[in-house]
Symmetry: C2
Subunit: 187 residues, 2 copies
């Protein structure tokens, strides 16, 4: 007799919605503040050498995204203007923009910008039809508004992940044999 | 003439200290609350099948650690009792312990327990000498108090990472071509 073992692996998969997306987007500034505000600079100011980012740089990068990326691109998609090409995003702008600012200032700035952007998003009353409207990404070509907004959500989560991975790496030398159990320290 | 290019890759590396460790440990409950409180259950209740954990399960696991792992093990190391073997940690206790509790209840429970444990840790006035005292881990054998406390910190960061990786996975099907840019979605 033949037994077949069925692996009951479900795939985590949610449908996109504006409301569930906003649940993440509106929490990110408070998450970063809870995690980082008032923490010793040793945790946040160091990077791993040229072309790598510190926690401080990541917060600057998120600010630049609020100003030049997500909402400006959504507005291009939603506008009546037939020109639908996005401006390429500058992944290094924060190195100039953040100069002289404390992490506290950046966290506050991010919070204000994100709040304004969520209000802007809500004010658009985006319909299911509008979610399928398209813009032109500099590398990918056509992308939909739903894809852009989903990416905004996942981008937030990506950078929360990077922040905790960097901070964990700072303590990699201190955990002794436990390193074997801590997947966050395996590179 | 020979030029040698030096790669300026620094290693992220902080020395262990009780104070910098507490900076992370005391923030984790607020970080989780900022990230998860009031969020739709769709983000937090699902797992990827048998033997995988949901976000909800992770919070239960952190609670179990507060009760049976970190501080009880530190107390074994610091006590005058010559018996230094740790009790093995039950990684599945949360499936019974959390039953019937909402995520909000678990987040509040974790916050109260963590606060009490940090107060307990501070009350011990742990010296540099005490940090080198040892306990016996069921798998690794001798481990120091500094290694245990460092692992507590990295363990928090590991689970914040897992939570955002799970949540990002929920939206993997919605980002379209951006998937290529989002390392958090590569398994």
């Amino acid at each position: 007799m033949l037994y077949i073992r069925i692996r009951l692996i479900k795939s985590l998969s949610m449908n996109f919605s504006i409301n569930t997306s906003i649940e993440i987007l509106e929490r990110t500034p408070n998450t970063l503040e809870a995690m980082l505000q008032g923490i010793d600079e040793e945790w946040t100011a160091n990077n791993e050498g040229p072309e790598t980012w510190s926690v401080y740089d990541i917060v600057g990068h998120l600010i630049h995204g609020e100003i030049t990326d997500w909402i400006p691109r959504a507005d291009i998609i939603l506008s009546d203007n037939p020109h639908k090409a996005f401006t390429p995003f500058n992944r290094f702008a924060q190195f100039d923009d953040s100069k002289g600012k404390s992490l506290k200032v950046l966290l506050d700035e991010f919070k204000v910008l994100r709040k304004k952007n969520i209000e802007h998003l809500k004010s658009k009353n985006i319909t299911a039809t509008a979610l399928e409207l398209k813009g032109i990404h500099p590398a990918f070509g056509e992308v939909t508004l739903a894809q852009l907004l989903s990416t905004w959500v996942v981008h937030d989560l990506t950078h929360i992940k990077r922040i905790v991975v960097y901070m964990a790496a700072q303590y990699a030398g201190n955990v002794g044999p436990w390193k074997a159990y801590l997947s966050i320290l395996q590179k």
